[in-house]
Point group: C2
Chain length 538, copies 2
């Protein structure tokens, strides 16, 4: 007899906290897997029922109780299909990150995650206890071990599964995207399979959750360490894979991998779409300066939400070049986005007049620059408040790192689209976007960057060239390197490196009040950057 096992991996997008809608989506997916895909087994990602990561919701007893009740309802749909579902469980007083196997309307098995990540963006030891035992399911004669995310990064868990009789491992994940992440997952699985010689089914979540992006890209690696099936990146997908009677995975055709730029761009589009829509908003406002950061932000937001859900707001000050306004208009037109021009001259003048009695005698300085930036923030927030929209921030990672952005000014917004994208990458990604269709005027890309908050100002009056700055920042932020090491490796003066680091340190208070933004690297400035503000280590 030719027995095969058909496994349907449901690479779906869930919303944190929305147990009710997530449950309905899971039930629909079970029915689809059973009736349309004719699968023996349908699998959902890590903590699919609650969304990932639920953070301090997990400390609320009612939240866990609600998840457990939802699980009982879902159970009823498992009459003739095996279901593997990620959800928190709390037998007695201990909370686990679990994978439940449902079958014949019962809970057949419950696996508790053994390795709890508590580094980078992860805080799982805040919430969960570690499981200790393997779970191997026998389905149609196939022996399948369960694993949850971090588990497959450790040899001991893989060996434990193999020892317990596993013929393959089914790993459910909520593995956040970063530019290097897919390669790392692949490498980890290769190392595991080298030792245990059985296939691993790697199902990943897809969707944006605050700053975290889950890229999907679920895949199956066979016992010879070849990727034999792969789901789409950055969108929902079903990956249906069969194992034959020899316990071999039957290969499926693979799509071409994404280029690094395509990957970043699609990550950002997904991040903006999910942040806005999962927060139940639809419309966003973006201040267009005529510079490249707001130009790229506008393009991403338009691709994410559609042109009709985006309003560009052009707010020239006395220091704004007319070509900046022209370019901002051209860009809006190219993207078919409505734009509004609201000059800030009058408010700026009135503010200076109001402050004159208290400022009198003091020279002009950065205060007057910040003032303009904050007036723009106030106008954008007024538009957003009046129409129930969101304001997007346009600061990039380089600026946020060194504090070259105004707190309560251009740094502000509901979501900071380029928060984890260095300025040099902003250029590269703008060029990438223009290859799809030329929307960003070339002059925006070619002009020397300037905040245009004072006469004849350019960023390089204050900062080293971005090619150099970004290299220093990368090593300091993502590599935890010391000034001495950076200076030596990059052949840069120690004084320059120290100056940049001092700017990073001095602006910690700004980052503390920054909006979240989609995480693209191994170290963004949200959950994975936890620096004290009072910090005298320079």
């Amino acid at each position: 007899m030719n027995v095969k096992l058909k496994i349907a991996l449901a690479q779906l997008n869930f919303t944190v906290g929305d147990i009710s809608r997530n449950s309905k989506k899971i039930i629909r997916a079970i029915q689809y897997a059973k009736n349309k895909l004719h699968a023996d087994l349908v699998v959902f990602p890590e903590l699919a029922l609650t969304g990932y990561p639920p953070e301090d919701l997990l400390l609320r007893p009612q939240f866990i109780a609600d998840a457990e009740n939802a699980l009982k309802k879902i159970q009823k749909y498992s009459a003739d299909i095996h279901v593997i579902l990620g959800c928190p469980t709390k037998p007695k007083d201990t909370c686990f990150n679990s994978a439940i196997c449902l079958y014949r309307e019962k809970q057949l098995a419950c696996y508790h995650k053994q390795k709890l990540p508590n580094y980078s963006v992860f805080d799982e030891k805040r919430y969960f206890s570690s499981g200790t035992k393997p779970v191997v399911l026998s389905i149609k004669g196939f022996q399948i071990a369960l694993a949850i995310c971090e588990d497959v990064w450790f040899e001991d868990v893989a060996k434990q599964a193999k020892k317990a009789g596993a013929e393959c491992i089914l790993a459910i994940n909520a593995s956040p995207f970063s530019d290097k992440k897919f390669a790392r997952r692949k490498e980890q699985l290769e190392q595991r399979i080298k030792k245990i010689n059985i296939p691993i089914f790697y199902l990943n979540l897809i969707g944006g959750q605050d700053e975290l992006l889950f890229d999907g890209q679920s895949f199956v690696m066979d016992s010879r360490r070849r990727i034999v099936a792969q789901a789409k990146a950055f969108e929902e997908d079903w990956l249906t894979v069969e194992i034959d009677q020899n316990k071999k995975v039957i290969p499926k055709p693979l799509a071409l991998p994404l280029s690094p730029m395509e990957s970043l761009y699609r990550a950002l589009v997904l991040g903006v779409k999910d942040y806005v829509q999962k927060n139940q908003f639809s419309h966003v406002f973006i201040g267009l300066s005529g510079g490249i950061d707001s130009a790229l932000t506008l393009a991403i937001a338009t691709d994410a939400l559609g042109a009709k859900n985006v309003t560009a707001v052009i707010m020239p000050s006395p220091f704004t070049a007319s070509m900046s306004v022209d370019d901002a208009i051209s860009l809006s037109k190219a993207l078919h986005v409505v734009y509004q021009i609201i000059p800030i001259h009058d408010i700026f003048e009135t503010s200076l007049k109001t402050l004159h009695p208290v400022f009198s005698g003091l020279p002009e300085d950065i205060t007057e620059e910040n003032l303009q930036s904050r007036i723009r923030c106030n106008l954008l927030m007024a538009l957003a408040n009046k129409t129930n929209g969101l304001m997007l921030s346009t600061s990039n990672k380089s600026e946020i790192a060194v504090g070259y952005t105004t707190l309560y000014g251009d740094m502000s917004g509901a979501f900071c689209v380029l928060k984890d994208l260095y300025k040099t990458q902003v250029y590269a990604l703008s060029n990438y976007r223009n290859q799809i269709s030329a929307v960003i005027p070339q002059r925006i890309i070619d002009r020397p960057p300037s905040a245009e908050l004072a006469f004849d100002q350019t960023d390089q009056d204050t900062l080293p060239p971005y090619e150099i700055l970004d290299k220093i920042l990368y090593r300091f932020v993502e590599g935890n390197q010391s000034a001495a090491l950076i200076s030596k490796t990059l052949h840069l003066s120690i004084a320059l490196v120290r100056k940049v680091i001092a700017m990073v340190k001095r602006s910690e208070y700004k980052r503390h009040q920054a909006p979240p933004g989609p995480r693209l690297t191994e170290r963004g400035f949200d959950k994975d950057w936890r620096y004290p503000i009072v910090d005298r280590y320079w």
Copy 2:
């Protein structure tokens, strides 16, 4: 022979990251303990060398190396006194939270913290591995076990020490203040000593670090579970205690305990002082509305920094009652604080005029209220930027919980003094401050609270009375209780409770961008409140 052991507990204030100055302070303290106090043993708090908590500084290899180098310098001052010092260590590739014993210019022993807190405000498992072994020092024939903070909250560690021969336990701590904390520490030590019947010396850190406050209040509990010596609260102090040849602690006179209000007030004064000064600022600006929150904030800031370092800024709008301005002036005068009056009418008018073309046709709503609040923020920030000062925020915990505060408006500032103080406590604490000297005009306390951003507005147009609101919030925020449970316990309609919870949930995005503020309760809105923004659990 009458042998005694003299232990000097150095309850001192250290600064995170400032290894160099912390080292010098430690060396001076060793010399003082030796030459002036004639101590056999001088003890410093948990991670005294680096300050606590160093957070992601611990991920920088150079930071650990710098701490280890500093330790070698300090070692030289241990020729004829035992020194116990908290500092991070990294033998091989594992980082520990350690207590080092120095003597005769050498490292005599190194204890690694065994219980690593990873809940509430703590993330120690992000940085440290757990030690497993007890360390018992023999000094002048006395057997002393070392423990670090969380260790003494567990029976197994206490028993392990006793089993290893300890005649007393020396626990070094960085235990953050909360209104219930001292009682909890006392209770924990009673439980330990009940089992092991030996005294515990509990040395705590003192000082403010971002939102965390360390209250000192170091104490010694003898084998009969009596507190026999205690250091001051909220200030540096030396607690020098002797053990006699029978291993009994020789009691010292105890000061009267602080009242709850005195404790909160002194906590806030310390928090403001340390945040401002450790960040190398001296001057603060506070927007005075004539309401009670800004009044209390001004009093605290003045008590913390001195009147000459505080500027009150009164910014009336068209909706500000003249008595608000009068009261704000009276308050400033009572505190001898310079005040400036900067009306915002003109900027507000100009802003409305500027927005008119895009707003035309839309009715007035909360947008116009936020606009005023943000204009004030912009003016205060301009003053702070121009003079290198800090702006303090005046929002309280009740407002921040339900989002009754304007993002980029009155919520803003470098430090939010009342962030963890409910509105009902703001009244109580204002009355307490007026008992010391009557500085807050009685009318400010007696008037119905109002944001004065629209005609005839009071807080109770939007919110339930604060006596009720605060009770709901306390149970939801600090107790993790469900709407059903709160409604039942407080005999309030479920609709009202749900309305309040919905306000809390809807304003998560604001708290995400809020300034830090001193933590006073078991759950503040900084490190111990980690809620997703995208969160559909209502």
